[in-house]
């Protein structure tokens, strides 16, 4: 009953966010409740914020959760923590690819090319590399415990470098991405010139995608756990 409520709630939320994010018009002087303001430098392209930012946000959340469960594995040596960390990283790489692709499509229209080594693009690329390396490491080890331990250690070391990418690289390099240090139009990321309704839909979209992520993550790790259990029964 409870899970059914969450599913219906999530469906309504994401349906509303998709419709509102795509269909609500962007006008220069918002009068109606559904009008979005015109942000200089972003203009009509601003609508991607409802879909691109949540994927980038989930990439980092997934990585954070993967690291937290890696910590828990190293402390308690419970193989289920390793499975949870693995399921989180699996989702993380999917959202990472989605964020890269949506960002590249947006930059084609906003900056004129799909890829221009903007600091944000470099940092999402580095995240993709980290995820790729992590999966390469996992697939190279046969022994289950060794795999869990070594990949947990690597996840923690890799996570330490993430603040460098997110907070430091945009400051070192001049960037085009909204929210870069030298951006005069839209200012820092937290201070987008959004009006109240744009803000509400943006946060609703973040919440909706986060719930979706947790649901997918739960399904992911449960299915891996059941698979492991069945494998054990067949063998034993």
């Amino acid at each position: 009953m409870k899970s059914l409520f969450w599913k219906i709630f999530l469906f309504l939320l994401l349906a509303f966010v998709s419709v509102a994010g795509i269909a609500f018009p962007i006008v220069e002087n918002p009068v109606h409740w559904y009008d979005f303001p015109l942000i200089p430098g972003l203009e009509q392209n601003a609508k991607i914020i409802f879909f691109h930012v949540p994927t980038a946000w989930l990439t980092v959340i997934a990585f954070l959760m993967s690291t937290i469960y890696s910590f828990r594995y190293l402390r308690k040596r419970d193989i289920n923590d390793d499975i949870k960390s693995y399921a989180a990283a699996q989702l993380g790489i999917i959202f990472c690819i989605l964020a890269t692709v949506t960002g590249a499509v947006w930059s084609k229209f906003a900056w004129g090319s799909f890829w221009s080594w903007d600091p944000r693009q470099s940092s999402i690329f580095a995240l993709l590399l980290i995820y790729g390396a992590w999966f390469a490491l996992r697939s190279s080890i046969e022994n289950e415990e060794k795999k869990a331990t070594l990949s947990a250690v690597y996840a923690i070391i890799a996570f330490i470098t993430v603040p460098f990418f997110i907070f430091i690289m945009p400051r070192i390099m001049a960037g085009l991405h909204p929210g870069s240090a030298d951006d005069t139009n839209s200012g820092p990321v937290v201070d987008f010139k959004m009006n109240a309704n744009m803000m509400i839909i943006f946060y609703l979209s973040l919440i909706g995608f986060t719930i979706l992520y947790f649901w997918m993550w739960k399904l992911g790790y449960k299915s891996i756990m059941y698979k492991e259990r069945i494998n054990k029964q067949i063998r034993g």
Binding site: L129, A136, K146, V153, Y154, I157, A158, F164, I172
Partner: protein, 220 residues
């Protein structure tokens, strides 16, 4: 610390006996630099490129030789004995000292060769370059030692090493390239203190994390 030093001496002596790492590193430096020289030909390249290429050579040379410290223990089957005689942090210290010495020798040779062979590689702010060089080398040695430990316990050894190291080393390499550019331009310390702070942070954080996590890698 005394034990770590004797561990380093042991590695140093066995290295002198075979000269495997030193020989392969020296040859790798020559090969990498001559490939770059051949591909440049008679073109004049700008300073930005020399700073980047300098760290490209350093990165790939490090990747070719620094995994040896732990991989050789696994190959000879001596890692269990090492676990018996020394605590994990001592082992890590010994291996780290060995890699530090190796990195410093290798990068000094690369820097000297670069200064001799590339006309554009002229350092105008030598003190800044020296700081970058020292801090960058320390970071490189720490990160590559801990990744080498992971690699030696994992199955695949050769190809996985650069793959795992690159994302970890990326912040260090990017800031070091920037700092090398500054020292070629002759920018003062005042303007480059943010980048220097980043490199120092990286070194300290990596060192702490490596010592904390090495126990988990080392104990089977």
């Amino acid at each position: 610390m005394n034990k770590a030093y004797s561990l380093f001496l042991k590695d140093f002596r066995s290295e002198l006996r075979t000269r495997y790492a030193v020989n392969s590193l020296a040859m790798f430096i020559i090969v990498a630099i001559s490939v770059i020289l051949f591909s440049i030909g008679n073109e004049r390249i700008n300073e930005n490129l020399t700073a980047g290429l300098f760290w490209v050579v350093i990165f790939f040379t490090a990747m070719s030789g620094l995994a040896r410290v732990f991989v050789s223990e696994e190959e000879r089957g001596t890692s269990l004995t090492l676990q018996l005689v020394a605590s994990p942090s001592t082992v890590f210290s010994g291996k780290l000292i060995f890699n530090l010495v190796l990195v410093f020798c290798m990068n000094t040779i690369i820097a000297v060769l670069y200064a001799a062979l590339f006309d554009e590689f002229v350092i105008r702010n030598f003190a800044l370059f020296f700081c970058t060089f020292i801090l960058g080398n320390i970071g490189l040695a720490i990160a590559s030692t801990i990744i080498a430990a992971i690699i030696s316990k994992a199955g695949a050894k050769g190809t996985l090493y650069p793959v795992l190291s690159f994302p970890i080393l990326l912040p260090l390499i990017l800031t070091s390239v920037q700092l090398t550019l500054f020292s070629i331009d002759g920018t003062g310390f005042e303007k480059s203190k943010f980048e220097l702070a980043v490199v120092i942070c990286y070194d300290v954080i990596m060192l702490t994390a490596s010592y904390m996590l090495f126990d988990f890698i080392w104990k089977d």
